[in-house]
C-alpha cells in the first residue's frame, strides 16, 4: 500500500476539524476579501489612471510652424488617446470574464490576460512618452538649425542628447524594477501554476 492509499483510508473518516456554527460563518462572509484579483484590480486601475491623466495633460494640438508638424501632432494625440481607451476596454473585457467557478486553467488564463493588458498598456505609455520626447527634441533641433547658426544647432543637438538619454535609461530601469517587484509579489504564484498546467499538457 503506498502513502496516498494509506492517507486515503484516514481522509474520509477525518472529522477532527473544528465545526463552525452558523453565526461564525455568517460573520465570515461579511469580511473583506484579500484575493489577488482585488489587488490586481486596484493596482491596474491606478496604473490606468496614470495613462488617462497623461491623455488629458498632453496637448492634442499645439501651435506648429508647418502644416506637417500640425498634422503629425494631431495624429499622435488621436492615436495616443484611442490606444489608451482600447487598453482600458481590453482590461475590463477580460476582468469581467474572471469567474472563480470555471476550470482552473481558464481562470488562470483570464487573470493573466487581464494583467497582461495592463502590462502592455504601461509599455505603450513608456514607449509613447519616449517617442514623443525624441520627436519634440528633433523638432527643436530642426528649428534651431533653420533659424540660427550651425554652431548653435550642434550645441542644442548635444544638449538634447545629454539630457534625454539619461532620462530614458533611468525611466526604463525604474519601470523594469517596479514590474519585477510587482510581478514577484502579485502574479508569480499564478504564473507558476499556469506554467505547471501547460507543462502537464505538453
Amino acid at each position: 500500500m503506498d502513502g496516498l492509499d494509506l492517507l486515503k483510508q484516514h481522509w474520509n473518516r477525518n472529522d477532527s476539524f473544528p465545526k463552525l456554527n452558523k453565526m461564525e460563518l455568517q460573520q465570515m462572509i461579511h469580511r473583506r476579501s484579500s484575493s489577488i484579483i482585488k489587488w490586481i484590480f486596484v493596482i491596474s486601475i491606478l496604473e490606468l489612471s496614470v495613462g488617462v491623466g497623461l491623455a488629458f495633460l498632453l496637448p492634442i494640438e499645439e501651435k506648429q510652424t508647418s502644416s506637417f508638424e500640425q498634422y503629425t501632432s494631431l495624429l499622435l494625440g488621436i492615436i495616443f488617446r484611442a490606444t489608451i481607451f482600447f487598453f482600458i476596454y481590453i482590461f475590463f473585457k477580460h476582468y469581467r470574464k474572471i469567474r472563480n467557478n470555471t476550470n482552473t486553467r481558464t481562470l488562470l488564463e483570464t487573470i493573466l490576460k487581464t494583467r497582461q493588458a495592463v502590462d502592455h498598456y504601461i509599455k505603450f505609455n513608456i514607449y509613447f512618452v519616449i517617442a514623443y520626447t525624441v520627436w519634440s527634441g528633433l523638432q527643436h533641433i530642426v528649428k534651431v538649425f533653420n533659424h540660427k547658426s550651425i554652431g548653435e544647432g550642434i550645441l542644442v543637438t548635444l544638449l538634447v542628447i545629454i539630457v534625454s538619454i539619461p532620462i530614458i535609461l533611468i525611466t526604463t530601469y525604474l519601470m523594469k524594477h517596479y514590474y519585477r517587484i510587482l510581478y514577484r509579489r502579485l502574479i508569480h504564484k499564478l504564473h507558476d501554476n499556469y506554467e505547471e498546467l501547460i507543462r502537464m499538457e505538453g
Binding site: I36, N100, T104
Partner: protein, 168 residues
C-alpha cells in the same frame, strides 16, 4: 431576499464545511493560515453563490471554487491576517484522541503532500475524495490522460519523499 439567500448559503456551508477544512489542511501549514484561507474561501463562495444554478451538487461546486481560491486567488500575507475567531477546543480534543504512532504516520504523510506544488495538491485532494479522472480533468482544465499520468508521478514522488524521510 438577500437575507433568505444568506441563510440558505450559511446552512449549506455549515453542512459542507469539511470540504474547506480539508483543502486548507493540504494548502496551509499552521492554524492561522488555515483560518485565513478558510475565510477567503468562504468569501469567494458567498460572492459567487448567486450564480450557483444548482446544475451540480453544492459540494461539487464548492470544492471547485475552493480549489480555485487556493490555487489562484489566495494571497498569503501573514502580516495582515485578521480572521473570525472560532472555538478550537473540539479540534484540540479530537487531535489528542490519536495514538502517537498513528499521528506520526499521518503527520509525515501530510508533510509530504504539502511539499507538492499547488496543482499537484489539487490532484491529490480530488484523488483522496474519490473523484474520477474525468472530473479531475474538467476541474483543472486538462486532459484525462494527462491527469492520470500526473497522478501516477505524484504517487512515485510521494513514495520518494517518504523514503527520504524514513517514514512508513
Amino acid at each position: 431576499m438577500t437575507e433568505k439567500l444568506e441563510h440558505c448559503f450559511v446552512s449549506l456551508l455549515e453542512e459542507h464545511q469539511n470540504i474547506l477544512h480539508k483543502i486548507c489542511a493540504l494548502y496551509t501549514e499552521d492554524h492561522e493560515t488555515h483560518k485565513d484561507l478558510f475565510q477567503e474561501m468562504t468569501i469567494q463562495l458567498w460572492q459567487s453563490f448567486p450564480k450557483f444554478k444548482g446544475d451540480s451538487k453544492f459540494s461539487t461546486w464548492a470544492y471547485r471554487v475552493c480549489l480555485n481560491t487556493a490555487i489562484s486567488l489566495y494571497r498569503h500575507n501573514k502580516k495582515n491576517i485578521v480572521t473570525v475567531e472560532w472555538d478550537t477546543s473540539l479540534y484540540q480534543l479530537r487531535q489528542e484522541e490519536y495514538n502517537p504512532e498513528h499521528e506520526e504516520r499521518l503527520r509525515v504523510l501530510y508533510a509530504s503532500v504539502r511539499q507538492l506544488n499547488d496543482i499537484e495538491k489539487a490532484l491529490v485532494y480530488m484523488y483522496l475524495e474519490n473523484k474520477d479522472y474525468e472530473e479531475i480533468a474538467i476541474t483543472l482544465g486538462i486532459s484525462e490522460g494527462n491527469a492520470r499520468v500526473r497522478m501516477n508521478r505524484i504517487k512515485t514522488k510521494l513514495k520518494n519523499i517518504l523514503n527520504r524521510q524514513g517514514g512508513l
